[in-house]
Amino acid sequence: MDRLLHGMARLGDEAERLLNETSLRVAITGLSRSGKTVFITSLISNLLALGRGRDSLPALTRQLAANGQRILAVRLEPSGTQALDWFDAAEKLRDLAGATPHWPPRTADLASAALTLVVERRGRLGGLLPPRRLRLELLDYPGEWLLDLPLLDQDFSQWSAATLAQLKQPPRAALATDFFSFLASLPPDAPDEDAVARRGFLLYRDLLVAARDQAGLRWLQPGRFLVPGPKGDSPMMWFFPIPGQGPAAPGSLRDLLARRFDAYREDMRRSYFDPWFARFDRQVVLVDALGALCAGEGAFADARQAVAQIARAYDQRSRSPWLRLPMLKRVAFAASKLDHIPPVQRPAFLSMFQAMLGETGPKARHFALAALRSTEDGAATVSPPVVFGVPAGDTRRRPFRPGPIPESIPPAGDPFWRRPYFALPEFRPPLLDPEGRDGLPHLGMDTLLAWLLEDAL
């Protein structure tokens, strides 16, 4: 009898869920330091504040009101039975709003969160029916790992050839002298000696770290060399690009490196990409376009290539298992750190961002946003225009100018690119309520969410 009752209860629950609940898996993607963690924290905080009756996302509220709808409540879902880490938005908020506010540390492993939006139904009969529930599933992960997504479709020879060709180009060439010296010392038929493989791996990893930290580059493969994740450094990772075509001789160093490359690729596929990165309905691609613009021509081209490759690889993997139909219904490309730019320059920045990405297809749209607004706008009369922010670790407000922002990409050799490498300053987060009562101040998050969820609400 109990089993019958439990079965009936489950049947009722499932029927109710089928009628009233829609689930959306939203992939928040982006290269490292593009602001994925803060984006997710802001999204969660602002939606929760909206559920508590604060107009924290005005564009979304207006869009819902135009359709005769409103959000009645927003709940953070319990963790259920998932094996992933739980994305602790409250802890991230404490980082941002604590006594010594700081940005959340670099993400080192996968974490997910789910939100339920309780939405009033539209129409005259809508009031007579129970409200709809929209379940948003969000995933946070180290941005460096995303760069391994295009790696899945390459073999070791292809990857080595492409990587070595890139290392010979500036600005990488200047950083890769030690690594090339090491490659030059290798005999053509080097045996599979582990000490040699490890030495090559360490030199290659140092090169990636220098490219990231000194030149602001983002196209850095393999991603786990920079952020190893919970498994740490394993022998599977002790490989590096090496010249050579065709099948490697058994017992050679190239054969060892190729087998490790295959093992690494398979581990990434099995542990991360297949279980977590496939089957998304919506995608947000965050790009630090301003940082790339300030870092110089090489870094800009590098970021541009990385975003294009990731978007392509993502689209190929997010397809239905049988007919291979694309499952991604909307892709939002978002340029982050809009709060570093004065209002008068923001239209030019968005235009430049669109030019940076080129044609992205009918289901994609471009946005510029700041998930957490850390600055205040300067007076419109000041030339050049500035924003005011407090540099990280300080308590004094300072004016910051991002410099000229072109509406289109300056051609190669343009004087614009002759400016020295400039790392964007890190501003201290604004004063926030540690409990997130009012959500997080932002720029453009509401416009992005209104478009991304438009057809699902």
């Binding site: 009756g53 409103r70 000041v382 030339s383 407000r397």
Partner: protein, 315 residues
Amino acid sequence: MTLPPKKAPVREAGPDAGPGWADAPEPAPAWDPGWEATPVQGGLVRHEGPVSLAPPPALPGAGWLRSLGLAGGAFFLLVLGGGGLWLGVTLDELFARSALLGWAGSALGAGVVGLLGAGAWREWRALRKLKSLDRLAETLKETPDAAPPPRALLRWAESLAERLPEAAPAIDQIRAATTLGEARGLAAGLLQPVLAAHVAALGGQAARQVFVATAVMPAPALDAAAMALIGLRLMRQVAELHGLRPGALVLARLLRRLAFSTGLAVGTEMAVEAGLEQMVEGHAAKLAGGAAGAAVAARRMARLAAATGEACRPF
């Protein structure tokens, strides 16, 4: 707290000046920490919070029940005033006949007025309890999960323990919660099942009574009367279980709440159960002596119990 930007000096620079601190002496490179030498007045950045989406309070007189309420007030005044005048005249006549009769009439009048006052006092206290529950529900909706649990939630939970000793361990756990999110989860996971079991038991008891009543009542009109009586009693029991004082006015408010919100929000559940009821109805009707709708009426009692329970909980 927010200082106007004009206090921070901005050095004018050419339109092609590269990215950098606009208060740094030209042509200092943008990343040059030389700005340390030129401190700038100005505090931390604080943005204004978003506006509230709460609907504006209704204008006085906007409610359609207001005119009815005025009429009801007038009627009440008429009855009360008329009764008072009648009592005064009657007492005067009684005292004119004999002092003993006058004092006896006075005692009777005082008793009636006292009982009426006690009834009003009970109703007022019951309404106050319901209002405090509504205030708690509003506070819980407004408060972020990271905030400490409000005292009113603990008071509400402790008031439950007086009626439900088996809920005491759950309340001890809730008392130890440091955030509202934790308290909410503990209440949903530990306290709510205890309440739900009691509500289900009350609903089941009422369902059995309705089933039997429908079977034995000789006329459909009497079925409806029995259902109404059992239903109201069930609502009183559930409200009492949740720490409310179920006076007439509180019951009326709960009924209105069920009619306008909870009753309609269970639409999907009703649609799902309709199929089940259709299956069971034929056999149940035979058991109930052929009375149509006996099983449906019994199921309604269980639903009424659950819906009343939801209306009496602050979350």
